[in-house]
Amino acid sequence: MAKIEIVQKSEISAQEGAAIQEICPFGAIEYIDGKLDISAGCKMCKICTKEKPEYFTYVEDEEREEIDKSLWNGVVVYVEHTYGKIHPVTFELLGKARELAEEINHEVICLFAGYNIADKGGELIQFGADRVYIYDEKELEDYRVEPYAAVFEDFIKHQKPSVVLVGGTTVGRSLAPRVAARFRTGLTADCTSLSIDENTDLAQIRPAFGGNIMAHIKTRDKRPQFATVRYKIFSAMEKDERRAGTIEICSISKELLKSGITVLESKEKPKAKYIEDAEVLVVAGKGIQKEEDLAIIYELADQLGAMVASTRPLIEAGWTDPKVQIGLSGRTVKPKLIITCGVSGSVQFIAGMKNSEQIIAINTDPNAPIFNIANYSVVGDIYEVIPKLLEKLKLEKREKIEVFV
């Protein structure tokens, strides 16, 4: 079995022992009475074998289980949907699957399970699938993990795919591990980049240790290789109505679709109520001169599906609700995107939003402190830039709708 072995010929001084302990980022090296040991805190990062090869050696497996990878073919995309309405992450995964499949000369295959969906497979072909397998059963009307996992198992046993991509939604993160564990195979969560080697090994990149480090992960000796990817990481290819592909309806024994779960009710999710929960925020600042001018801010938020927040002066003026104040005396936010409009950026405001993923700041004063933390500093007048921006966004949306109908 692969392991790290300690080679220690003589007793080590306390001073040297302490220095050796320091090299382990996980504090897993122990030093007791002149002797070194490794605790269960070891993460097998092998740093000790590089830093102190005189004491630590990595012993590789004598025999690795080899599999014939040529028996596993195809890049699968699991079709995520709500009562037949396909989740856009599926199209993004299809775009990536196309890329991977072409690299190794495989086909892109969709697994589509649900009820009353038999006529919905065509769209998947237009977005890149070569073959679509549909399981259309009453028992699959609502998502329940056991029947869905049973269908997935049946599908994998028949298709023997090399790669399986699943959207990193709450359903994907429930189903993918269930099926991966059933096949005792590898699953890499929330991949941010995927590429494929000639031998069909999937090169999976994901953030590790809280996001400050990236890890390159492989499923070396198992198939299929499961990966989940969050929404809005990859890009869908353009819809091609002339793309050809095949659709096959599959059947499965009702016996396998039993479940210990009964769905009592399904209701639409309420929209985010608090600015802390919003993915996108548009912030109105002192640059807004009159209360009625807030209209352009609300319109911008509307276009972006965002919520409106504000700085303290606007709340004190009674123009906005105290619940939407950002800053030390207000709320701390961390949205995917924040657009500040006419906000100079006081210390207390910045403290409440500086961890936002992307910051676009619009302000007339090129020396405004907000520009010190903005990813994109836009030196301009909100009264001129925002109306122009609204026009362009509307145009973008119209084009997008045309692509998706």
Binding site: Y143, A181, I261, Y376, G380
Partner: protein
Amino acid sequence: MDITVCIKQVPSTSEVEIDQETGNLKRDGVDAKINPYDLFAIEGAVQIKEQTGATINVVTMGPNQAADILHEAFTLGADHGYLITDRKCAGADVLATAKALSEGIKKIGKADLIICGKQTTDGDTAQVGAEIAELLDIPHANNILAIKEIKKESLVVDVDMPTMIQTIEIKLPCLISVDKDLNQPRLPSYKVKKATKNKEITAYGVCDFEDSNEMHYGMNGSATQVIRIFPPTSNSNTESWEGTSDELATKIADKIVELKIL
């Protein structure tokens, strides 16, 4: 009812960094606190115990100092603590972690309900719970927002789905992973802390498990391998845009499209 709660000790900060020159991890990430999502799992179990009576077992995998979080769980209302500690479990991926925990849960004995936090703040995969359920062959539900009813043979819970909230009845035994909306975790009780200070913790190693084949645990039992680690490309890029308002609006619109906000 017998409830087993799976918990994990995680670094108290996410300040683990990588040495740009050597590519090695810098030592800052020593595990210290209970994974925040696990507090909702423990609180959920304690509320069930208060309503219907239950025994709460907490289990964790890690080095000896992970016993600290089991003691912390005692102060929050847990009854028994189990520590899976074995170098053979080192370097475990999702599969090997789920394997060790599922064997530990079997070893503890009866579990009508297994509760996990939705995810950990270090590994962040949110997938160990579902794999445990698979290995134990019981149903599971992820991202539970509310426990609405506790029946003799089932639970009624609200599940967070991509676009819907689903209310389901799930048969026991089962596994649920819980979200932060589930409850407001209580503060540890000082009185209980004093009373449970010397409470014994049961330690398990791979040799105690029903499946004691060491090839099924740790790095050897992992289906995935970390090929290398590297620092992320910095996204702290800053750009300053000037120009006519039309040019500026175009730049902003392009960026919004690029960020897939529309």
